[in-house]
């Protein structure tokens, strides 16, 4: 790096695979995922933790990866959108997003799917208010959220929903 930053090793698990990453310690987790690991499903929408497009799960908790220095994920288990489906089989939330029209332009969708997965992991039978507040950290400009709510309801009607 021409800005001369020192690099360190960070060990973590991403979507079940263990990695030792040689990175600048204050690099954003978002950039490390996208640029070093080529996991481009995680999106940048605002870079300041407002929009949630960069949402990932760290040890099962939903976080904005644009706000996380990579140093903080030492020893952590990270799940990105690429790790949500089981191989070719979509997660119930993903399937419901397709069926209910929860994805339009798709740019918020990876973060929104992870937010929904996280919501259902913590609150398997959410009320309408739970859903509205559970997803309020993820902005969607296309849908007006209604079809996303439909998708969450449909996903939790199906068995076997877990993060």
């Amino acid at each position: 790096m021409s800005d001369g930053a020192i690099k360190v090793d960070v060990r973590c698990t991403v979507n079940g695979a263990t990695h030792t990453l040689r990175v600048r310690p204050m690099a954003r987790l978002l950039d490390v995922l996208r640029e070093d690991l080529h996991l481009t499903g995680t999106k940048e929408g605002c870079g300041e933790g407002e929009c949630g497009a960069c949402s990932v799960l760290i040890d099962g908790e939903l976080v904005n990866s644009c706000l996380v220095p990579v140093l903080q994920v030492e020893g952590a288990e990270i799940k990105t959108i690429e790790g949500v489906a089981a191989g070719a089989e979509l997660h119930a939330v993903q399937q419901a997003f397709i069926e209910c029209g929860g994805a339009q332009c798709g740019i918020c969708t990876p973060g929104m799917v992870l937010a929904a997965v996280s919501l259902l992991a913590h609150t398997p039978q959410p009320t309408d208010a739970d859903i509205r507040h559970g997803l309020a950290g993820n902005l969607c400009r296309c849908t007006g959220y209604m079809k996303i709510f439909d998708a969450v309801v449909r996903a939790c009607e199906r068995a076997g929903v877990k993060a």
Partner: protein, 746 residues
């Protein structure tokens, strides 16, 4: 063989790639040897560039640097006029105007370098609001600051005012700027050099607009320029024109770098501060009405703030002008409209395209007129709704069945409007709660397709091709930006051919491979381009039948076999279809009279609100959108369009406030420019009435995309008026304005 594919909620074509994160947007792409590009912008709103200096501590010899002098062709973004430069050469006319471009392979160093460049500008007097521009405080564009003006003149308004027994009601209304706020910012990758020409990949709505702009910028023939749309993370109008700018910038850097790929991705702050927004507007109404509540005259003055360059303002103004008098019959209508220049970044396309501004004013004014006559807002409108056979402000005879009163009835039934209106009035008066409630509505129409003769000029073309396995690909430059182009085009083509939906795909919009089906704007993709998709698809069948390979009735296997034999014998199987205007449509560009649009969608929207008179918060509790949009091709996508548009309209009304300082947006972050979250919105309840449009695809679809932006603001402010008794006239209505209004009343 699948029939009845139209009207079914088939899965979105690219749904799987979007929910798995596999969909590739431009920032997800990388090329060997790629550089990152950035833009050095003007720090002031208007002035003359004295010097550009490059600061210390940056290895400048490693950088690609582009100024106006490096432009091979013309330094102008080709759109309507050629007044906007790609890079300011001597003068700047708005804050954040591009002055210089930099590229480097290290994006962290690039950002440091950008901050190390100083553009020294001698400031000139500037105008920042449309009022200042109209007053001629300073002439900043042309001879009079006016980009464009229109006059719609029906009957004779001036003879009305002196007639006896008429009530005359005046009103003034204004709307603020609004940021499109697509979650994917503007971005492109370009490869450009003299040997290979120019190629741009990017997030965009209109590949052929970018293509046209690059031809001029590089002085190249059409075949040397190629523009490819990547998966696009929302547009809403914000990626109609701006991709021509950022695409040109990346291409200029690549050209200077000998053809190394250059990627430019704006961060959120740059995207918000530098790119287009909805035009701020000012509307003045003078309405004459009989004591029985019949409209006699509407005199409307409509002004939009175009920003520093002409860009699309003339067309935005046109749509706003034509929609200014709404779905009402009135014998005398005059609309005088102007788009004026200010020294702010050019305002541009945003869903609704001028219509939400003028419709807001009209629907607020009509509630005021109703009050003056002593009628309820609903009864007043019922007495004036346009009916089949009557004429609009431009003299267009409505030839389709239209039932605004029926839509109103339906919307009221769904919301229990009349009972609530009465109950809220009583409760607001009787109790001492700080929670005041209101219900209001707006009735409106939205024309689909380009205005007037626009579609005749565009002459859009769509192709279809079939391969030896019988798979059909639609060839069009119409883009999937979330609204469902890929899906509905496949529905329309498979429906026309009686094939399975899965057998039809849309080709990636690539000007090297698809014909120009026109821009993805103006609610035209389904109604206008969709019709061409159908006829191009039918052309494939006719070709196979003409070759004696297919009979009138066929199975999917017979289709496949026919395609296989055709391709074997003759090679590629392709068919093209070009736009022709429906019969009997006439438009006079000079007089602004005639058939402004081929078809209109009609709607009544009802909003229910609670206003907290202690905290000055307003909450929309319920929202019902009833519209007649012709045949609904895909019920889930169509409802998704309405819900998303209503959400943006609620943002426009209550949350989204662009704060300006010296012509620059200073709240250019999602932290302080606030769009609605999932916790802020009411249930949005969508109901369609289907009245097939005889020239629409699939048995009669019309346009839908922009419509839902139009009705929210006036419906909500009409409801707030019931809740508070205060006649607010500006959106966004921020809590501070609500407080002032309530204090003045008290």
């Amino acid at each position: 063989m699948q029939t009845e594919i139209v009207g079914k909620p088939v899965p979105r074509k690219e749904g799987r790639s979007k929910v798995t994160g596999a969909a590739r947007y431009v920032d997800d792409l990388s090329m060997p040897g790629m550089l990152y590009g950035t833009t050095v912008r003007s720090p002031v709103a208007r002035g003359r560039i004295r010097a550009v200096t490059f600061g210390e501590g940056i290895p400048w010899d490693e950088f690609v640097v582009v100024t106006a002098k490096d432009i091979p062709g013309e330094n102008a973004v080709a759109l309507i006029l050629l007044d906007q430069p790609y890079l300011a050469a001597e003068f700047v006319n708005h804050a954040e105007e591009p002055v210089l471009l930099l590229a480097h392979e290290d994006k962290h160093l690039l950002e440091r370098a950008r901050r190390a460049v100083t553009v020294d500008i001698e400031p000139l007097p500037a105008v920042f609001t449309l009022e200042e521009s109209l007053a001629g405080k300073e002439i900043v564009w042309g001879e009079d600051n006016v980009f464009k003006s229109y006059l719609v003149d029906k009957g004779n308004v001036d003879e009305v005012w002196t007639q006896p027994d008429l009530l005359i009601v005046e009103g003034e209304y204004s709307t603020g700027a609004q940021e499109q706020l697509y979650i994917e910012t503007n971005g492109v990758i370009a490869v450009a050099n003299a040997a290979e020409g120019v190629t741009v990949w990017g997030s965009m709505q209109c590949p052929y607009y970018v293509h046209k702009a690059l031809l001029k910028l590089f002085a190249l023939p059409p075949e040397r320029v190629r523009v490819v749309q990547c998966e696009t993370g929302g547009g809403f109008g914000g990626k109609e024109e701006y991709p021509s700018m950022i695409g040109g910038h990346a291409a200029l850097l690549s050209w200077k770098a000998g053809g190394r790929p250059v990627k430019i991705i704006y961060d959120r702050a740059e995207d918000m501060v530098a790119t287009t927004k909805r035009h701020p507007s000012l509307t003045r109404h003078r309405t004459a009405v009989t004591r029985e509540g019949k409209l006699v005259a509407m005199d409307i003055e409509f002004v939009v703030d175009g920003g520093a360059y002409a860009t699309l303002s003339a067309v935005v103004l046109s749509r706003g002008t034509i929609h200014a008098a709404g779905p009402y019959t009135c014998p005398n209508v005059r609309v005088r409209s102007r788009a004026v220049a200010t020294n702010v970044p050019p305002h541009g396309a945003f869903r609704g395209f001028g219509a939400p501004q003028s419709i807001f004013a009209l629907e607020r004014q009509l509630d005021k007129v109703a009050g003056a006559v002593g009628l309820s807002p609903a009864e007043f409108r019922r007495r004036n709704f346009i009916r089949e056979g009557e004429t609009t402000a431009t003299g267009q005879v409505i030839r389709e069945p239209v039932d605004m009163a029926g839509l109103l009835d339906r919307a009221f039934e769904l919301t229990d409007y009349e009972a609530k209106r009465e109950r809220f009035a009583r409760e607001n008066a009787e109790n001492n709660s700080t929670q005041k409630r209101g219900i209001g509505f707006a009735s409106f129409m939205h024309g689909a397709g380009f205005t007037g003769s626009g579609e005749d000029y565009l002459k859009s073309i769509v192709g279809a091709e079939a391969d030896a396995e019988g798979r059909v690909r639609v060839l069009a430059a119409s883009t999937e930006i979330g609204q469902g182009t890929n899906t509905i085009f496949a529905q329309l083509a498979s429906n026309a051919l009686g094939l399975d939906y899965d057998l039809v795909e849309m080709a990636q919009p690539d000007t090297g491979n698809v014909p120009d089906s026109g821009p993805t704007v103006a609610s035209r993709t389904c109604m206008i381009v969709g019709k061409l998709v159908e006829s191009a698809a039918v052309g494939l069948r006719q070709t196979l039948q003409g070759a004696g390979l297919l009979t009138d009735e066929y199975t999917q296997d017979e289709w496949r076999e026919a395609c296989r034999r055709y391709v074997e014998r003759y090679g590629a199987l392709k068919s093209f279809s070009q736009y022709k205007p429906p019969p009997g449509v006439h438009w006079d560009d000079e007089k602004y009279q005639g058939d402004a649009y081929g078809a209109y969608a009609w709607a009544v929207y009802v909003a229910e609100v609670t206003v907290d008179t202690l905290t000055y918060e307003t909450r929309v509790d319920d929202f019902v959108a009833v519209q007649e949009v012709g045949k609904v091709v895909h019920p889930v996508l169509a409802a998704g369009q309405i819900e998303g548009g209503v959400a943006q309209a609620i943002g426009f009304t209550l949350y989204e406030n662009v704060v300006w300082q010296d012509g620059r947006m200073i709240n250019n972050q999602m932290t302080n420019y606030v769009m609605p979250t999932s916790a802020d919105l009411p249930p949005i309840r969508v109901h369609f009435e289907e009245q097939p449009y005889q020239y629409g695809p699939a048995g009669g679809a019309k346009g839908i995309g922009e419509l839902p932006m139009d009705g929210g603001a006036p419906a909500i402010l009409n409801a707030i008026e019931q809740a508070t008794g205060v006649r607010f006239t500006h959106v966004p209505l921020m809590p501070e304005a609500l407080m002032r209004g309530l204090n003045e009343k008290a």
